[in-house]
Point group: C2
Chain length 447, copies 2
């Protein structure tokens, strides 16, 4: 198989040479994900043009693979009846995503023109929170009564197979439409056509309710190694199914969110949004940090006399604050990520704190001695000063490790997302406390 | 379905009351992942005891779900012939993972006692790099000749179904064992038993070679929404298959690695390793940062005269360096993550740089003005000084955004992992340049 890059290059070459007939021939053999990759590289007008060459089924497959910006651009440029055709061809969860970003009047028009049952399903899906099980499930699934036999299940699969990309399981319901089992296709293939479903199904299927957060849903997929999972209402009636390909995207999305939140940078659309939008999403976090810096400067101002006495003290401020900041961000990253992926056992959190504090002390002693020696050799001939510097970095690093570990744990216990709040809070507080301790110590020892 | 926590609590209660018979009854109905969860909560001796109650098949299912520490503990405590039974029951990829952590003599003994063909497969898998496609694939798969018919494929599935947890596809090979197609079970179910495989299979299946890095494999799964993918040798002969449940773990693992690397914290085993090991993995990164801090202190030392002239300049150092550090880490995080998940187009990297620099200028102007005003109101009555402070923070933030964006890009172009090197390098360099500019400006304007 040739790589996506090769494929993209070949298509771009044809595009350049205006060889549209050959381009269309080539595209026919490509996976929708590869076509989407190619479209990403084109200019806006070219995107629209290439998209117009695709038949409806391919256009539908490609549009779900496009990034949000390109998708938006194309949706703005095509006629509403072509949008209707495309939406009609999509699975309900993807259709709901598309309709969600259309202007209200066009969304209304599309919903009126597509298959009535699909329209109802789509509107039902759109009522769930975007990041809940209901928001990521699709209405398409294969279900049979537990009293049916294998042949009936096969007929049901045949009936649905035009509407669904992939079928992994048949869901089994009782007479009240309650979910009672699941039948993997492998078992279905090996059973005799006359077998009753209930005699070969897996009982007690793992399912979730529609309101469950997508992060929790992903955790369940991961834990039980699932490929598709049924979503039920509070009476255990079948509502839809979630497939693992969406879970893969969610896990990556959630991890990225955590990373970005830890530095207070920006939201999901970081890579495509405008300079102004990007700057403004970063302002609040920076503002918190600015306020912290201002407080630090007021504190330093209070120690003006100590500083005038020994100006060299200022020279060590960056290394003391910097090392504290680094240790704090290491500790809080470890804890935030550990909580997120479940590798830190919530019951044993205080063990984690105790261990991190000891790590902080060990690091603090190491760098305290190192900095003391450096100060002694290169700078200061006053014994008291290098004690201040060495002890200053030790205190800063120990406090940083403690704060960095405890802050996310406390925030998590308070029900605040530790990823979003830990970053600014920890680094700012560590800065202020480090500087306060450093100058207090200096004042006591020097004056 | 009751939650895992409920299940764990119920089992712990039975354990406490020494009601072993009831405990064994309960465990029978539980998913291996739930049993593993329960075992995690026990004391070492209890872990060993509960594990000894499990029949071989359940023990095998449970051991793959355990965290590395618990698994290691249990493997040390059980007899080698029980290990043999368990390994014999595992799929080859899981078996290879277990044998990998056994002492050499026991590993040898186990390999000699299990099914010979399995032993060969396992040893073959163990030769691949742990983080390559070969290292994560399993030998178990269903393959048929393209000239076979559907009934043959079903017989093949029946023959393999005892050895494999789940079957999603039948792989199709030609007479030279080359992979030529893939047949999803859905298609197989709907076809007539007499149909020839080649007439209904999906041609041009997506596959990878055994040496491909697991991160790249995960990207292909994600891009093409795969559930299982064949691994081939350089002659396109079928070697094994990778399933999506392993990919889910890998995506989370890789994201965690990136996060941890960005702060230079620790490796995969952060949550279980000792204080000393934990501290020592963090030392090098902190040392780079310490050297940077020392350089900064030398620079500040050079500007001692300027500082003595206006001690208040020291008060603004933390806010200037801190804001620079924050902007730099935001910018580098965005770029590192964008490259990792592919949302930043490598061809358009310089557009990203240009945008981030403009963001930096915008943020720099905002905070420059803010800090200048603050300095004017609360502190300094000398016009020249608040110009220095305002311009200092502007310069620091602009440089930080530029450095933070360019550094990971340059590292990536040089083939160095940007996640691991960006953190320390960017923050240290930003610190030094900010301070140098701040004091140079101060010296020019004040003296």
């Amino acid at each position: 198989m040739s790589t996506t890059q090769d494929k993209t290059k070949r298509l771009l070459k044809l595009m350049e040479n205006d060889d549209i007939r050959e381009l269309m021939e080539e595209i026919k053999n490509y996976h929708p994900a590869d076509i989407a990759e190619f479209v990403k590289f084109l200019l806006p007008d070219e995107k629209k043009f290439v998209f117009s060459l695709l038949d409806t089924a391919t256009a539908a497959d490609v549009i779900v693979e496009l990034d949000e910006d390109t998708r938006q651009l194309i949706l703005q440029k095509i006629q509403s009846n072509r949008i209707t055709e495309i939406v009609d061809d999509l699975e309900t969860d993807d259709a709901a995503d598309i309709i969600d970003v259309l202007p209200d009047d066009i969304a209304q028009e599309v919903l009126e023109k597509i298959d009535e049952e699909d329209a109802e399903d789509i509107q039902r899906l759109m009522r769930y929170h975007e990041e809940s099980a209901g928001g990521i499930m699709q209405a398409e699934l294969v279900s049979v009564s537990k009293n049916a036999n294998i042949s009936t299940a096969i007929e049901e699969i045949r009936a649905m197979s035009g509407e669904m990309e992939d079928i992994h399981n048949v869901f089994v319901v009782d007479k009240d439409e309650k979910l009672v089992g699941v039948l993997p296709l492998r078992k279905l293939i090996l059973a005799s056509p006359k077998s009753k479903i209930f005699s070969i199904m897996d009982k007690d299927p793992i399912s979730v309710t529609a309101d469950l957060d997508q992060e929790e849903v992903a955790r369940i997929f991961k834990k039980y190694d699932l490929v598709a999972m049924p979503v039920v209402d509070t009476h255990e009636r079948l509502l839809g199914r979630i497939t693992v390909d969406d879970i893969v995207d969610i896990i990556e999305e959630e991890a990225t969110e955590d990373i970005i939140k830890l530095t207070g940078a920006v939201d999901d659309y970081a890579w495509s949004s405008s300079v102004f939008k990007n700057a403004s999403t970063r302002l609040p976090w920076l503002f918190a940090s600015w306020v912290g810096g201002i407080i630090a400067s007021v504190i330093i101002g209070m120690f003006k006399d100590t500083l005038s006495e020994a100006v060299v003290l200022a020279a060590f401020m960056p290394v003391i604050a910097g090392m504290g900041g680094n240790v704090a961000s290491q500790s809080s990253t470890i804890v935030v990520r550990g909580i997120a992926i479940g590798s830190i056992d919530v019951k044993k959190l205080w063990q984690v704190v105790s261990r991190e504090v000891r790590v902080g002390i060990l690091l603090g002693v190491t760098y305290g001695v190192l900095l003391g020696i450096f100060a002694r050799i290169f700078y200061i001939d006053v014994f008291r000063l290098w004690i201040v510097v060495g002890f200053g970095i030790f205190a800063s690093m120990t406090i940083a490790a403690t704060m960095g570990t405890m802050m996310p744990i406390i925030l998590a216990k308070l029900g605040i997302d530790p990823a979003v709040a830990s970053g600014p809070f920890v680094s700012t507080t560590t800065d202020i406390i480090s500087i306060l301790m450093y100058f207090t110590l200096a004042t006591i020892i020097i004056l």
